[in-house]
Symmetry: C2
Subunit: 412 residues, 2 copies
């Protein structure tokens, strides 16, 4: 039997009615001839309740106990989903992470999956079970304790199962009906994509499109797991949603496929840094150690042995970055006149694998922004994306202008 993995997020299993709705979708895939592995999240709100209790009990909690408590939300959904399927006469049973066992590292609350042995579930499929319902987000450490996978853990669980079981596809059911060219709240011209390449999805996910967690897309890309994002709340068929797949599967290949944005950016400038070999390492080493996620980096040309160094980071890491830089200054590792934090910026990016073989994308982007009178503060490029920092007040205008400029409302 071909195997299909189906993952339902918290809003898709928020109450018994929604679990029934999700189970109905599973039943239909069983009727289509699949053996199905269902990965479930906790009912929405459950995990937050549990996390709240842990944090109130112990602000600096033991992550092993955190994991033991927080993982119970998924266990509840898994049992209820299995019961719901049984009520529909679909042979099903639930698995908690340790029962599979989904083996992970010992990094509690942020564990990495190390192995998913197939034996237990394969045996049940051979005995006639049609659906294995697996509690997402959790596993078991080499020490036999419960681990959780951290943010995006349930998506990652789903992709890992799809890889381990050579699933035909991994369907991620969520509260949106697919991946859009940009946020439909910003422009009603936003268009749902039928397909998107892993690399593009990665850029869109990490740039603020919250549909899929970066980590699960990375894993899908590595193991070539075909991922589909679709809505739990709409009828669906084989063509619903957006397929995230290898670029070879995509015929159209537009130059730009999406416009992403992020409001959560800050621009930090070290003014008049004493320039010398190794100065970048002296700055970004301490920032990395302090856990600051530096994104864009710009170094101006040097004058009289001094330069300005600008970088961007998430807005909630500004204080941490300042502390790290001031400490480095006091320790004599870095010499600068001033550190200016500009928290009034936003990042806007255009993404597309077609950029690799097309020139002129940057020019077209800059022109579109210029035509709207939007000043670009910082530019950064990669093989398949171009990002700019601009004043936050222009963010929506910029997204709209770029969506128009690259004609993303058109299907090809």
């Amino acid at each position: 039997m071909p195997i299909l993995v189906m993952k339902f997020g918290g809003t898709s299993v928020a109450d018994l009615d929604r679990i029934r709705n999700a189970a109905e979708k599973v039943r239909r895939e069983v009727e289509r001839g699949y053996d199905v592995i269902v990965i479930v999240s906790a009912m929405s709100g459950k995990t937050n309740e549990l996390v709240g209790w842990v944090e109130e009990t112990s602000p600096l909690f033991d992550a092993r106990e955190y994991d033991a408590v927080v993982s119970s939300g998924e266990n509840i959904t898994a049992g209820l989903m299995s019961l719901t399927l049984q009520e529909m006469d679909v042979p099903a049973r639930s698995w908690q992470g340790w029962q599979v066992p989904l083996k992970t590292t010992s990094a509690h609350s942020a564990a990495r999956i190390s192995e998913i042995p197939r034996d237990n579930i394969d045996q049940k499929f051979a005995e006639g079970m049609k659906v294995a319902v697996v509690a997402g987000f959790q596993g078991i450490s080499p020490e036999g304790r419960i681990t959780t996978l951290g943010r995006g853990g349930s998506d990652t669980t789903a992709v890992a199962f799809a890889a381990a079981f050579n699933a035909e596809r991994c369907d991620i059911y969520t509260d949106v009906d697919g991946v859009y060219t940009t946020d439909p709240r910003i422009t009603d011209k936003a268009r749902k994509l039928d397909k998107i390449a892993f690399e593009e999805m990665l850029e869109l996910a990490s740039l603020g499109a919250k549909v899929l967690q970066t980590r699960s897309v990375e894993l899908a890309m590595r193991y070539k797991v075909r991922l589909r994002v679709l809505s739990s709340f709409e009828d669906s068929d084989e063509n619903s949603g957006t397929l995230v797949c290898d670029e070879d599967e995509i015929m159209e290949n537009k130059v730009v496929n999406g416009v992403a944005y992020s409001r959560e950016e800050a621009k930090m400038t070290l003014v008049s840094v004493a320039d010398r070999p190794g100065i970048a390492a002296a700055i970004f080493g301490p920032l990395a150690e302090a856990g600051v996620n530096v994104d864009m980096i710009i170094q101006n040309i040097s004058e009289d042995g001094r330069t300005d160094m600008t970088f961007s980071c998430p807005i909630n890491q500004v204080a941490r970055a300042e502390k790290a830089m001031n400490a480095a200054k006091e320790a004599g590792e870095v010499n600068f006149h001033e550190l200016i934090a500009d928290t009034d910026v936003a990042k806007v990016s255009v993404v597309g694998i077609g950029m690799r073989s097309h020139t002129g994308v940057a020019a077209r982007m800059f022109k579109a922004l210029r035509d709207e009178g939007i000043n670009i503060r910082v530019i950064a490029t990669s093989e398949i994306k171009i990002s700019v920092l601009i004043d936050r007040k222009y963010m929506e205008l910029a997204v709209q202008a770029l969506h128009d400029a690259f004609e993303l409302e058109k299907a090809s």
Copy 2:
């Protein structure tokens, strides 16, 4: 180190404040020099919520999935209790049933404990851990699935751990401060007992004193586990609560130690049964098969080959008993004129191990009831108790009269 088992029921861990209060009691025992095994129930209300979801999802639920869902309540408390203790600088960690592993039979939702290996927990004690927090009510089946122990499962878990670890005592923290000579709501002369023998506690528990589940007392008696019942909500010392122990430990030995009652009784009479050898088996066989818990049985003398047969059973099993008897009549297995169900009765019992060596207890009981004008419908006796069925309206009066007659307000 001597080992102490402490068990906290649902109301004792109902919220984070109460968990902190319970943890404080654990900390004090650690300071007194114990290694402690704490058994926790689910926060009160949690299990009902989970059971409600399961029953709504699937009225004839798969008990394996029921167990997987319902056991999560205890897991949450175990993690939170461990975190709370860690916050108090008490080295603690949580165990879920399968981690111990607490091995059970495969009888899901009513599993029996088969083995509790000590290795894992002993090793952690040897490494300096002071408190093992164990999720009560659950274990793991030979097939590797989660089981629950059914009603009273957390008390039973506690006693089983006390037996396996040769604990000095098993303290059951609950919302009452001990075992009383009778229900204090019925007479304010009710007195808390300092000690009570296992056998007496068993009779009191099964007769309606809801402090301890019968099953846990049976287990404690078999393994001679000294059980103490005491309140979570009062300061306690070594003499608090009531100690349930071997009768050898009890010096006083009054003839009667308690008066129990039950409102939930019904009196069933099969009128004019054709009497023949084997008739009792023909009646009580089908009742047992139908799951009717027959308590007292009275057979009148036979006249003209016919007799009346009276028995008592829980009031909510009357319909089941009637169905079983009518089926037996139709099948020609039993011949009777009429089945009369009297649901307007109550059972009142006096209990005391001293009865074994004292005569005249029954006479004193019957006189006390007669003096109040209370008519006795049915009498049943065992080695250490005498029970009567009376009209329900006299129940409170009977309890008060018997409490007075046996001078239970006096300590010895």
